[in-house]
Subunit: 372 residues, 2 copies
């Protein structure tokens, strides 16, 4: 099931304050979804995620189908039960990772054959199989299988990928069996505005429960992402949730919200935490830098996360330098808290129609941009 | 400060139920101390340790003097504040690791010069320096510097090491300044009963706050450990705490308690957890084994730890195989819970004079012994 209530709309931007009701609970939007690739948000457990106030997390179909396998997860009662997470889950279709992580063997209209990056074994992913796998996983929101061409592919190749993705979208809708799972379509078209517009119109005519903007997360500039999102979002139905896949920096999120996007996911807060880059209200902090060696300050004096309430930069730097496992969890807790608090603040501003993206972008400054 | 109250004594064994009062609180004995080598019990944070009911943890002077450095820790307000741990801490002297981890440069009566295993830089450790470092760290219990000869050294070498350790013990007592830190002597002598007896008598005459049995943790058989502990423990004052260093398996703990030991530490529960070996009331469990692939059972149906209350063997096996960071914490929580619950049960039995080591050794069976 999926119900989307539009609670309020910004009068100065296209931003929306909404509420998603899914099989496993409600999700206040705009929302950031922490990425739990292989049935775990790396270094955290379910209690940590609940403590952070996460209402929905993402699972990667590609990783889960390879290991431990969607059949095994289904026999365990589904992904929620397997990983002891009682709130909502969105799964992607696996398409993006097949095109970026695996060794591609064959791509036809039928689907794609690839070798697992884990053990080299051969797998096939078709639209029907992508739906069946996600139904095995039992996520609240499933994504259609789409073809993800390289970021800088020529227009003819992108157009062909859009046509194939459209055909796959239709087959996904037809293959869908579970009533408790919502299926989203994905608008492709790279940086070509006419292809984006055309694809959006086609998918909307099919009547998905929600719509994603795909193919803008890797290798695009913030300006290109913003241009495509601002073009595409208004072409999607106002009464359906809009999801910008794999994006992005805090500033990307602010611009996405301003353009009318409701849902986001990105590995940036979790991956950057593990690599020693921490988001703060004063900008980005590189924990290994010598300036933190003797600092008794928390990462961010304005942050109320567990890490900032209990540990100094000096201690976290020590753990990072000594490669202590505990570092990864404390850093991940902080960065996810930064992202989730950002969205919480934005939602509060939207409720009183006080959301101003320019103020946010100024305030975020260096912390907001770049690849980290 | 250190106060040791003997609450009761077993009528059938030499076991004692006691209570240590230290600068940062009380410790119910017999006690197992989780090892927090480099200012963190690997993969856990302070809240986790409190949740497990740990009352005292161990820090390694060798690791901390090299990184982040005891001066830095002192400037941060000491180890308790640095790692946000408000309960008790025992630090070792660094001697054991100098002899086992570093490249030894020179060993004289004055002390030992060695190269750091971290960056190859040259360090010196003397009895006075070992005390000063531990006073910088601010632990509740500090250990004397001792010489740790190889496990199978000839008797003449062991006797020489005992003589040197005795001289160092005296210098540690003389160097001691802080009144809020208790200093323990360490009985050496390898497997030579006469050397052990002689060394115990000499150290006891010096009047330490507590006494450790050292040099039995590495490479000794359970029988040899038991023989030496049963010989040495009764030669230590009844009204002072006795600490068996670096030992051991659950069965070693049971035998140690029966011989009159009050304190234990060992990396086994934490290290084995990370390597996939988990302690259960039904024996040892190797989580990667295929039999757990589809198991919805908890690690141990009788265990009340966070991991067992929330996660199945199938999920933990998946995390382990996929090398997910979350595995390390969940496994460590379980193994430490097993050790701490074992000691809690033993203490409860001692309170009603119902402690029977034979019953425990039978019950522990395969889980209790061996190097894992």
């Amino acid at each position: 099931m999926l119900r989307f209530d539009l609670l309020s709309t910004s009068t100065t931007t296209r931003a929306r304050r909404g509420r998603l009701t899914l099989s496993h609970g409600t999700v206040e939007t705009p929302v950031f979804m922490p990425v739990g690739t292989a049935a775990s948000v790396k270094s955290l457990d379910s209690r940590d995620l609940e403590g952070l106030g996460a209402e929905i997390i993402l699972g990667n179909t590609y990783h889960l189908m390879l290991r431990p396998g969607d059949d095994l997860v289904a026999r365990r009662g589904g992904l929620h039960r397997f990983m002891d997470w009682s709130r909502c889950i969105l799964t992607d279709s696996g398409g993006f990772q097949v095109f970026s992580l695996s060794t591609l063997r064959r791509l036809t209209d039928a689907g794609v054959t690839f070798r697992s990056h884990v053990d080299g074994s051969l797998f096939e992913l078709t639209p029907e199989r992508a739906v069946a796998i996600q139904e095995n996983l039992g996520s609240d929101i499933a994504m259609q299988l789409d073809e993800c061409p390289p970021a800088l592919a020529p227009k003819a190749d992108v157009a062909a990928a859009v046509r194939r993705s459209t055909a796959w979208a239709r087959r996904c809708l037809e293959a869908k069996k579970r009533g408790d799972q919502a299926l989203f379509g994905i608008v492709q078209g790279a940086l070509f505005e006419d292809l984006r517009a055309e694809h959006a119109a086609t998918l909307v005519s099919m009547g998905f429960a929600g719509y994603a903007i795909g193919g803008v997360s890797v290798g695009e500039s913030p300006e290109d992402i913003d241009r495509i999102v601002r073009l595409t979002a208004p072409q999607l139905p106002a009464d359906k949730p809009r999801y910008l896949m794999g994006v992005g920096t805090p500033s990307d999120l602010v611009r996405g919200v301003a353009a009318g996007v409701d849902m986001f996911d990105c590995v940036m807060p979790t991956r950057n935490a593990r690599n020693g880059m921490l988001f703060t209200s004063q900008g980005r902090l590189v924990i290994k830098n010598a300036e933190h060696r003797e600092s008794d300050l928390p990462l961010d004096a304005g942050c109320g996360c567990y890490t900032c309430r209990h540990y100094s930069r000096a201690y976290l730097r020590h753990l990072y330098v000594a490669k202590e496992i505990t570092y990864y969890r404390l850093a991940t807790l902080h960065n996810l808290s930064f992202y989730l608090e950002l969205m919480r603040s934005i939602r509060a501003e939207l409720e009183r129609d006080a959301f101003d993206p320019a103020v946010w972008l100024r305030r975020l400054g260096g912390a907001g941009e770049g690849a980290g």
